[in-house]
Amino acid sequence: MATPVLAPESGQTPSAEAAVVKGGPTLAQRVTSFMPVIALVALLAALTIADPDFLTQRSLTAAVRTSAPLVVLAAGATLVVLCGGIDLSIAALCSLSTVFFAMWLPDLGGLTILVVIAAAGAIGAIQGLAHVLLRIPSFVVTLGGMSIFSAVALVISDAGPIRVIDRDATKWLNLYVAGYVPMSFFVAVLVVAVVSLVLKLTPLESFVKAIGYSESAARLAGTPVDIVKVAAFTISGACAGLAAVMLASRNFSGSPTMADNLLLPAVAAIVVGGTAITGGHGSLWRSLAGALVVTLLRVGLPIVGVPSAWEQILYGAIIVAAVALTLDRSKVAIIK
């Protein structure tokens, strides 16, 4: 294959060479990639104007600490969304995992954290396998998963909360890094960073994007489509497990419905971050910013004194506006 290839006739074509510019992102593209952060800052500014007390160090610390489970849930599910699927089971799996955690802690002690994360990851993997082997849309698999996990959680917990008596195992989650950063948030950011880094440094990122944009092309290029998808579901499940540990340690108990209401906020966080719900385009960092926006909306609006009915109306309007701002439409041809 060392033979020189091709006659360079094309060099004589006019204008083609002259018109070439440097590649890489343009200024506009750079700005769009920062949009989630801009949205976050804008929201924070608005809340501060509504109530100047909101912008205190303690208040912000509380907000990021609050956001940790949502960040982790959204980050995991982002992988599935990037692959072009969706995981509706994260919240139910997270609830189930809080029950696991509370049930197993007395026997396993500190090891429980790892065991719960592994168990949740395994359950996620089973969903992934069902999706790729049976060729059922991820929406349906995880919708089914959602109700099955809820039922299992109800049954094994006897439909009630289970107290976490031994708090030592999760005490470290309530510490602060450098005095101000809550450990749980630190862990959440660490998860985002590690997963993002692994994606970035290995071919995985291009696999995930190729699958998300065009699964058939990815498959015919010989990329490990099924493996990557199952891995995405596994990580999504494991993240639900980690979020469960955070919630259980925060609430000192596990309960079969504890995280059920986090499903829509988590998906909202992904979309608000600007990740395309159709797959391919997006990142975990975006979901981190999105989760912070959603958390600020959930806690900020009532705290600064917006009445209940208006809070809902504002919440609806602001998340739509946020997505209008963050979504990079040059990457998504058709908005469905």
Binding site: M1, V5, E9, T13, V21, L201, T202, L220, A221, A333
Partner: protein, 520 residues
């Protein structure tokens, strides 16, 4: 050809009113000047060919003529009247309609609906469908081109060629919208058609000339010369000349297109080192059966190019896909270099050194929103990785090397592949299998579909080089000529069976007619 019917003989008419005239059209895209001051005249009742390399700006120009591309500067005149076209509807009102390069029918609608889509007229009254009227309207259009398709058939149940006919029937609706003679634009309509269907299409084009003007784009220069009255040539977004087709030869046109004569040895037969004959068989297929093919035997030696020909639905495409593990096989034994070839999936095929270039480039061949570099290195991780890590520098060097070797025209390796012209996209897809240099068997399904003559020549040269380096190649050619020109041996497939093998040595090539006889 020069003596065709002329409504307005070119005498000293005061200012000849052209069907369509374009002056100084300019269109910029980020990083490319797609149109750089194009001038073009389309006369009444003529078939104008538009030629140019991939990325010369043909599609962009034509899309500007139907209001899909908003030019940055320049004028468009329709029958002596300056117009601004802002949408397909406006263009249609001026009598301009287009069949697009990529098929553009709604797959889940009926053929009838597709034909009248956007201009249902009496078929839809106050938002309510009159299915009977609609069917009749569509039937009229289909009758015009002599097609026997059921208008109420769902479009995705039709064959590729039938769909192309529906597209043409659809564009002919223009006649109903304007009293003026229409201008009909056909952007590479033949690249996906078989020779018989192409003949049907040409009959239609000649019929259209009686009352309309036609703009015709094709990379097959013989076709252009055959059906067109005149050819205009674009190069790098500029009009570089035109010529009547009467006495022109492909080489003349070629010269105009790229500024120099192409090689006479189009298929680079001279490069063939003929070592293949003595080589060990590399791919051996025995009695392979699948859903659409049965008992296929096939042998390809290292360094050999074997063409498979057959009509639509002969199953040759599925044979290729089966060998790549992308289509299930029911029976049969396949070995590569003596070892059993794992057909369970595409991963296994890639790992064994098999490569596949699918025909449907846009959907299956490439990932549109991803960069040229990522597309090129998607398959062969070794080419950009050290261990599990991607080394951006390594990837950049390698990709740039292949961009240069294959003359891929792209602003940058980081450009989205979807923004390149079709030909350049195809080169990237081909390069994907070459970057690692460990390919043993290459399955090429219409590898030159949509490529300009220069690019084609480059691909052929590349295929020869690969063959000389020992790669076994299975080729589903774009045309019979191509199959004959490139292959060492040709297998004819009929109804899912390999019915005949034709030797095709350099110097002893069969004629297309010989093959056609075997195919039907």
């Amino acid at each position: 050809m020069t003596t065709h019917v002329q409504a307005h003989p070119e005498t000293e008419a005061p200012a000849p009113v052209h069907a369509l005239e374009v002056r100084g059209l300019v269109k910029h895209y980020p990083g490319v000047k797609a149109l750089d001051g194009v001038d073009l005249v389309v006369r009444q009742n003529e078939v104008l060919g538009l030629a140019g390399e991939n990325g010369a700006g043909k599609s962009t120009l034509l899309k500007a003529l139907v209001g899909l591309v908003r030019p940055d500067a320049g004028e468009i005149w329709v029958r002596g009247e300056k117009v601004r076209l802002r949408s397909v509807v406006e263009a249609a009102d001026h009598g301009i309609g287009m069949v697009f390069q990529e098929q553009s029918l709604v797959p889940n609608l009926t053929a009838a609906e597709n034909i009248v889509l956007g201009s249902e007229g009496a078929g839809v009254r106050r938002g309510i469908y009159r299915w009977d009227t609609l069917r009749k309207m569509a039937q009229e259009q289909l009758d015009k081109i002599g097609s026997h398709i059921d208008p109420l058939a769902r479009t995705d149940t039709l064959t590729f060629a039938e769909r192309q006919m529906v597209e043409i029937a659809k564009v002919l609706r223009i006649e109903e919208r304007t009293s003026n003679p229409p201008v009909i634009i056909l952007d590479e309509p033949t690249s996906v058609l078989e020779s018989k269907e192409i003949e049907t299409l040409f009959t239609q084009v000649r019929r259209l000339r009686e009352f309309a003007s036609v703009v015709f784009v094709s990379h097959r220069l013989d076709e252009v010369l055959d059906v067109c009255d005149r050819v205009a040539v674009l190069r790098g977004g500029q009009s570089v000349g035109e010529m009547p087709t009467a006495d022109a030869a492909p080489t003349d046109l070629h010269r105009l297109m790229i500024g120099s004569t192409g090689s006479d040895d189009h298929y680079h037969e001279g490069m063939s080192e003929r070592s293949a004959a003595e080589a060990e068989p590399r791919l051996v297929v025995k009695g392979m059966s699948g859903k659409t093919f049965r008992d296929v035997d096939l042998e390809v030696k290292a360094g050999e190019i074997v063409g498979i020909v057959g009509v639509h639905g002969s199953g040759r495409e599925d044979v290729c896909r089966a060998l790549f593990g992308a289509e299930p096989t029911l029976a049969g034994e396949v070995t590569l270099d003596g070892a059993k070839l794992d057909l369970s999936g595409t991963r296994a095929a890639v790992a064994s050194g098999v490569g596949y270039v699918p025909a449907e480039r846009k959907i299956e061949g490439m990932v549109g929103p991803m960069s040229v570099a990522d597309n090129m290195t998607l398959t062969k991780q070794k080419s950009r990785c050290a261990g599990p890590m991607v080394i951006p520098q390594k990837q950049a060097t390698l990709v740039d090397k292949w961009i240069e070797r294959l003359s891929i025209r792209t602003p940058h390796r980081g450009t989205q592949i979807g923004r390149l012209s079709g030909g350049n996209q195809q080169k990237v897809v081909l390069a994907r299998w070459l970057v690692a240099g460990d390919i043993r068997l290459l399955l090429l399904d219409h590898p030159t579909r949509g490529l300009d003559i220069g690019a084609r020549s480059e691909v052929y040269r590349l295929m020869r080089e690969l063959a000389n380096s020992g790669v076994a190649t299975v080729l589903l050619a774009d045309s019979l000529e191509e199959a004959i020109g490139m292959s060492d041996r040709i297998i004819v497939m009929n109804d899912g069976r390999a019915t005949k093998e034709v030797a095709c040595p350099s110097g002893g090539k069969p004629t297309p007619l010989d093959l056609v006889k075997e195919m039907v």
